[in-house]
Structure formats: C-alpha cells, structure tokens
Amino acid sequence: MAGVAQRLPRLLALVPYLLVRPGVLIEEVAADFSVTVPQLRRDLELLWMCGLPGYGPGDLIDLSFEGDTVTVTFDAGMRRPLRLTGAEATALVVALRALAETPGVLDGGSVRRALVKIETAAGQADGVVVGLATREEAALAAVRDALDHRRALHIRYYTPARDTISERTVDPMRLLLVEGRSYLEAWCRWADDVRLFRLDRIEHVTTLDEPAVPPPQARPTDVSGGLFRAQPDQQVAVLTLAPDARWVAEYYPVEGLIEDEGGAATVRMRYAETEWMVRLVLGLGADIVVRNPPELAEAVAQRARAAVRRSDHLAPSEAG
C-alpha cells in the first residue's frame, strides 16, 4: 500500500491547490506536484468520483476542464490543505532557523519573517538545531561581494591533493555550505571547467574589474549525496587501519569496511592523486598498512627511506 501512502497527501492537497488557482495549466499542476501529466489526470479523475454523503451529482467534487486548464467548481468541503505533520514542520522550521542564524547566507530579514509565519501556521520545532556557521574565513567577504556584483576573481589557491599553490582567474557561480565548510563554486578559466574552491584554502583573493561570465556549459555541481563521488578513473587502495588510525575511515569516504582483530579495520579507499595518498599513509607510520596496490606500498617505503636519510644528514650537527 506504499502507493496509497504516497498518493493520498497529493490527493488531499490537489483540490485546495486548484481552488486558489482557477484555470491553471494542467502541465503546471503536474510540475508543482512532481508527477507526470497522465498521473495527474488519473488523480483528478479519482477526485471527481469522491464527495459528500448522498454522492449524487451535486455532492461530488466537480472540476471543469477547458483546453489544457482545470478549475474546481465544487470542493465538497476540501477547502484547505491538511496541517503540517510534526516531521514536515521540523524539516522546514529547523532549516529556516539555520538560515536565519547564519549571517551572510541570505537577507536575514526575509528568512526571519518567513520563519515567524511558518511557526505560527505549523508550530514550533524544538530540539533540533543546525549550525551552518563555518569557520571564520578571510575570503568570505570578497567572495560574497563578487557574487553579488557578478565580478570575476583572481585567487591564490592551496591544493592539498598536490600540496601546491596555484593562481587562477575564476568566474564565481555560487557559494555552497556543505558539511560544515564553505566552497566557492566557480568556472575556473585555468582548468576550463567548474571547480569547487574551499574558502579556507584561498590564500589571497583579488576582485577583478571584469564581469563574471561563466560559459553556458558551466553547470552547477550536483551536491546531493555528498561532495565526493566515486570516479571511474580513480585508483583504489586497500588499507588496514590500526585503532589509532580508525578515524581515517570516518574522515574520508571509504568502502567495504571489514573489522580485523584487536580493533583494526581494513577498508577500500579511492584516491585521485597518488602523491596525496602517499602523504596520508606516510604520516600514519605504523598505524596503517597498504595491502594494495603494491606500487603505492613501494612509493611509501621509498619516500620514507629518503626522509630518514635526509634527517640523518642533519642529525650530527643539530643533535650535537
């Protein structure tokens, strides 16, 4: 009966929706309710069969169709939508409150007014709090300003994957606040593609005199389901994490976690830059073992030996 559970809220909302929009295009209704036009027509046909006790011609919900439009001519008493459920009120009120309490996201005035109106109609939602605020970031003011005035930016950006700094000219598109961090989504003229730049990694930002003009092929990134998506060209490492390195499996996306003895775990982890993965493994010392690929294990061992040799060069003079 999952179908009924999904369909019923729509059926209960349709008549009030149509009442306040006489002569609305059927296509528009279908889009607003996220259903196909044939499904919407089936819904309307069903409602047409429903009504008040008596169930005669004057008791049933009546709709008139004209061209591609529809109008309710008798509502059978279904004049207003049902109240918001606790879960619906929570989802909306908590989100609005999070926006209201985060300076710089939206015009605070309109969010607060909306929040008051929704709370009045739907009730409070206590006990769920979302803090959107990210760390203080020096680049935020300049990025907001560039977005508001549609100006291009020149940035000095730190890329941890390669542990390097690069200079880029970008056309800002939007600011994303995801998982407690702020990102500038922009067309990067250097990469010739859309890129996300973490604000706390922007070393320096200059607002340019030229307008921001992302090309037509610059599409917003789909961030549903997280920022990091498995890419076919990524390599996969198999790593065994000692208890002290188990945080890696929480901090980075990993797959197929297997519990080993003594609190250790073996995971698969995707990576794009070998250099980055070598740094991660090297830093964890005895707390991590590379099971696969062998080239990664070898690269780690080589870097480690080179590092020990280099510190040996210093040891006599410094330690003495």
């Binding site: 009504g51 989802a91 989100a95 926006l99 309109s110 606040l177 510190s311």
Partner: protein, 325 residues
Amino acid sequence: MTAAARAERLINLVLCLLSSRQYLPAERIRRTVPGYADAPSDEAFFRMFERDKAELRELGVPLETGRIPGFEAGDGYRIARRDYELPDIDLEPDEAAAVALAARLWDSPQLADAANGALLKLRAAGVDVDTEPSVLVQPRVRATEPALTPLISAVQAGQVVTVSHRRRPAEQPAARILEPWGVVSWRGRWYVVGHDRDRDAVRCFRISRIAGPVRTVGPSGAVQRPPGVDLLKIVAGSAEPPPAAHTARLWLAHGRAYGLRRRATVLGTMTVDDVAGDVVTVELPGYDVAARWIAGLGPDAVVLEPAELATAVRDRLLAAAGSAG
C-alpha cells in the same frame, strides 16, 4: 481491492467526517461511505476501518474518537475542521524564496521528503514556492545516520532512550541511558545532547557512532530540557577542545610543503643533503597530529627542534620504511 479504490474510500471518509459536526458511529460510516459496503463480514469491515484510521492518522489527519450522547453501541468518529486545516499563511515573494531555499537544505531522504511534503501543503494554501530558485548561496546539510530519525522522534516526544555508543571507532560500544534534550548538526556532523543518567552529567554523543537501534524507555513527556539551555553551545564546546599549540623549527625543501608553509614563518635558508630549503618556525597542534603532517611530507620536511617531535616523526618514517623492527 485496488489501490485506487482504497484511495477513493479514504478521500470519501475524510470528506464525510469533515462534513459532520457530530461523532459518527462506525456502523453509520460503513453504510454511508462508498467502499465499506463491499466488506463481506463485520470482522472484515472492522479490519478495513482500523487500517484506514491508522493510515489517516499516519498522514497527520486529526481523527477524533468520542462518545455519542444517548448512543450505547460504542464510540463515534469525526474530524474537527479547525484541527485539520492549515491556518492562513501569506508569504511575500522574498519569504517564499527563503522557504524554498530552506526546503533544499536537507541532503537526507527522510528530511527532504518531509520538507517537500510541507512545500506541497504551502502551495495548496496558495503560496507560490519556486522549486528551483536561482540562489547565490546554497547550504546543504547531510543527515544519513540511521539513528537520527528515531532520536528526533524521542526528543520531540520527550522520551528517555538507551543507545549503544562507541567513544572511539575501534572501541566496543557501551550502553548509555540518555534523557535527550536535542540533536544538533555542527560542522557537518550530528550529535545528540542530553543528560546521561549513569554519569549524572550533560553529555553529547556523535550520532554516527551510535551502533544498533535507539530504544525508547518509559513514557512520553518524561524528559524536560532545562530552560535556557543552548544546545549548539554545548556541542561546539565539547566538539572542539582548544588545540594545544607547540612551536617547532623545521627545514622545508624549496617549493614544497605548501600546506605547512601556509602557517609558517620563514627564518632563513639552509641546504640539507645538497637540497636548498628554508628554515621556518611554525605553530602546531599536539605532537601526534604534527608528527603525522610532517612525516607525510617525507624528505621535503625535517624537524630541527624540538627533539621530541623529531623522534616522533622519525618513528613513523622508520615504520613506513618497513625497517622498524
């Protein structure tokens, strides 16, 4: 019974109960509302009717049960219009845009569905909410932890819960009895805050580290959140202990180790092993994290002082070189 026939019966039931001021006995509903007459027996009818009532209540329809004066054959049913109908709501375009943005905050099937359900009702109330607002700022909050939804329900019902929680990922989970005051999303992670009964203290637990089911204990309304408590502050305070700072002097190869250079001050230059580099001073968190960062850089970074940090880095490198034993 097809799904369409059932939907039709439920809509007719809502219309019938909305239109009546009095409580209607079940028997009358059976005779009146189309669909129930098909029930072959009393038992079949009551089974049908029970399921329909449950389904409507699940959707939030305020189906009331009450005594009918002068009627001995049991309770009757009605839906009070003032409890059923969403009150008048009128949003200005900028307010509707804020609501649309808020509804898109959730990256979570349950919360996103709930937010979309709310939008549907607002549209039906005459509010025009744009589904694809063009916005310059888009916040997204993930909420995929299985324990989150039951914890929200427990918080809102004011019920005590038992959970099994790992302090660290490798540890065995330990049972906790918690009076939950609220759930908090902070820097991309969800926490539950409340009074831990065993420890008799305020505690906050990362929800992703709750293993297994959340069980409610005792009646609704048993948990009282102390007035004026700031949930976000409790989480922010316990989630981020102030980092202990240490100053270290390092050698960094030229043109390398930009992550460390971002926080370092260059003191001078020095050549090590025929490689040109800089001597820098840098404020670092605890030795453990610092040793990890520096060891990760391999030959591009060497600790000059303190000796304790140099040893910690060297130990990691020796282990990684496979010559620890």
